[in-house]
Symmetry: C2
Subunit: 416 residues, 2 copies
């Protein structure tokens, strides 16, 4: 039996085939994300992987349904596997608005789902680091969020040579739009045209823009000028105070596709231009109000960073760690009469917090040693009786190829 198309299995390393996804690399990425969030004072939350379809159609309209992994459940409810986390967050924050002091700084690492019928071979799920700040209008919040994004990528070993953030503004584009067009109903289509500029042939973009009353040249001139608005300048100044100015440039070529963004928006991208955007986010000051049916009105902003592009980038830059899983000790049992004492020692090691393994059944010496090497053990430990008849432990450090013989009570200390 096969797994469903577009879904992934995650295997322990060494991987069974070069195209398999690594559970160890995923763990490495999740740990870096979580630790970065901790350093920034963000708190973890989570919601259900399944939500009502209405949670997404309310803000994005019915056309989004074509991309959702939605279905009718056995109770007749219209439901969907979550395509993104922001509506869930808005629902949760809206439901308990009064119980939490603002601003909230929250993060989560959900698995997200899309179903696009026509695109075969494309993944239908991915994991995404989501960090959001709720309840603060000031540009300081945008800077804090972007700083977290920068440091999450640095925590994985990526540097300024590998990635940058492009900072843009829905407000700047809104002004651009308002100066030239009085029909607010066209704004969404205009944003979509800007969002597609870098991915479409110029002729296609031009015809989209002309149909809306704009020219490709004036749009390109606005992007090329790249003058930061006051709002963006405040963000840049804040990041400069942190020593992170080098990681950000203003680039109005970014606008972000989602309908609900309201202010500054940004993307992280790889400097060599090989990959799709690594992460993206921005302000969505109206969404909490929309999702809470007007009960709670809170400014908010957030970003999402997926695991797929990021792990491709880490592998391309040689930043995928090797042999992350490690045993502190492999307990060799060459004399089966020592199995009871060896199991007792094993338990002592594990009780002390050490990672320890052993041969479940009697096995030849060289087979046991091979297993210790495969398990990436730093030491082997073998019990033996001294000439005087007392029980001793022979500890071999595998990298240094050094050996020592200690009493059984000294093994934990010798391994630490």
């Amino acid at each position: 039996m096969e797994r469903l198309p577009g879904f992934r299995d995650f295997y322990p390393e060494p991987l069974p085939d070069p195209n398999a996804w690594s559970a160890d690399l995923r763990r490495h990425v999740f740990d870096a994300w979580r630790d970065s969030a901790r350093r920034y004072g963000f708190r973890e939350y989570d919601g259900p992987p399944l939500e009502t379809l209405e949670l997404y159609t309310a803000k994005s309209g019915a056309e989004i349904v074509g991309q959702l992994y939605n279905f009718t459940d056995k109770g007749g409810r219209e439901v969907t596997l979550r395509p993104e986390m922001t509506p869930t967050l808005a629902r949760m924050a809206g439901a308990h608005d009064r119980q939490y002091r603002k601003p909230l700084k929250w993060f989560t690492i959900p698995q997200l789902f899309r179903y696009e019928r026509q695109q075969k071979g494309r993944l239908r799920e991915h994991f995404q680091f989501n960090a959001d700040i709720i309840g603060e209008k000031a540009a300081a919040a945008d800077a804090e969020l972007m700083a977290l994004l920068i440091d999450s990528l640095r925590a994985l070993g990526l540097t300024r040579a590998d990635f940058m953030l492009r900072l843009s503004s829905r407000n700047a584009w809104q002004e651009f739009f308002n100066r030239r067009c009085a029909d607010a109903a066209k704004a969404y289509d205009f944003y979509q045209a800007i969002d597609k500029l870098e991915r479409e042939a110029p002729a296609v973009s031009e015809s989209r823009l002309v149909a809306l009353g704009f020219s490709l040249d004036e749009v390109r001139a606005f992007i090329a000028a790249g003058q930061p608005t006051e709002e963006l300048q405040r963000i840049l100044d804040d990041l400069a105070m942190r020593g992170l100015a080098d990681f950000v440039k203003v680039d109005y070529g970014v606008i972000r596709g989602l309908a609900y963004y309201t202010g500054p928006v940004f993307e992280a991208f790889d400097c060599q231009g090989e990959f799709r955007a690594i992460a993206g986010g921005g302000r969505y000051d109206n969404l909490v109000q929309l999702v809470s049916n007007g009960k709670v009105d809170l400014p908010a902003l957030g970003f999402g960073m997926g695991d797929v592009v990021l792990t491709e980038l880490l592998k391309a830059r040689g930043l995928s760690p090797k042999n992350v899983a490690r045993l502190d000790a492999f307990v060799l049992i060459e004399d089966e009469s020592l199995r009871p004492d060896s199991l007792k020692l094993l338990q002592t090691l594990r009780d002390a917090g050490l990672a320890a393994d052993y041969p479940l059944v009697a096995a030849k010496s060289d087979k046991q040693f091979k297993r210790a090497l495969e398990a990436n053990a730093t030491h082997t430990v073998r019990l033996e009786r001294s000439a005087a008849g007392s029980m001793m432990a022979r500890i071999k450090q595998l990298a240094a190829r050094t050996e020592e013989v200690v009493s059984v009570t000294e093994v934990v200390r010798a391994l630490q």
Copy 2:
């Protein structure tokens, strides 16, 4: 908009209401599970939350569909949110049998799903720690797996006074059955009757058993005798070598409901008898062969431990940790002219791996301090200019109420 019935939101502590689920407690449990698996040399894997319906009906028959969160996807496939992890593991291990040396020791922490139409208020999802050993027939593997289960519970602060394992054997029940009944087709119904003994009225059990040709008395006598089989005795001896004998007793009242178990089976339960089983597992030596359509034949065993009963038990025993999220430093900014230097310091602290937060916008002194307390900060740090004009940092340790003033370059060291 509301979340779907039977699904949970996980909030950061302090919780917005007493019935809310804690993301911090969930993290505490996941960390203990993962660290226990690491100490035992188990490697992490994961599969898709959505699988083909066939993966489950192949081994359990069509009647299981009534309990599944299944649906037809947009591509016309019969799919289901995974109700358990074992078939996915058997599928994954079967697909790459030759690439991994046996035995495999693998773990995962999936979210699992059930849909039972009639039971309102019951959860439709939970998280489950799954650990499995694949490719070893010897009783040593059963003992190793049960030792991991015991130590996973001890890692959360539970002791022998809180929980025990009941060890039973499908083989022992099979023999019991074979001695009295020649119709193998009745065996599954007989196991189901044994499984329900403790949850049903005696009269109901009696009529079930009599219909199959057994009496309640002979079944009860067999359970009361509780003689360990040779196979179970080997497991008990192995656990005794580890010093874990006290945590296990033979109890044929356990049989486990799932059809695919083949040998020893076990459950962890709370000693006060307040909760449903904390965990359960056993051998399923035929499942890998079944799921791989006969291509791979590997003995296997595993357990699952859900988060719901476990967190209820931890809370009931006072073992739910308080204030797990912690800031190393809250940087107070009382003089806004010091904001640039304060942000620089903040970045230095975070770069050093410390968890640090600060006021995003200008705020009154007491409000900032309150925020530091709410965030469970161990220290506040405030920049100030010395009389000589140099920049100093005043560090307050909040628990001890002690203060020191150090130079800006000394702050990281003072906080570590």
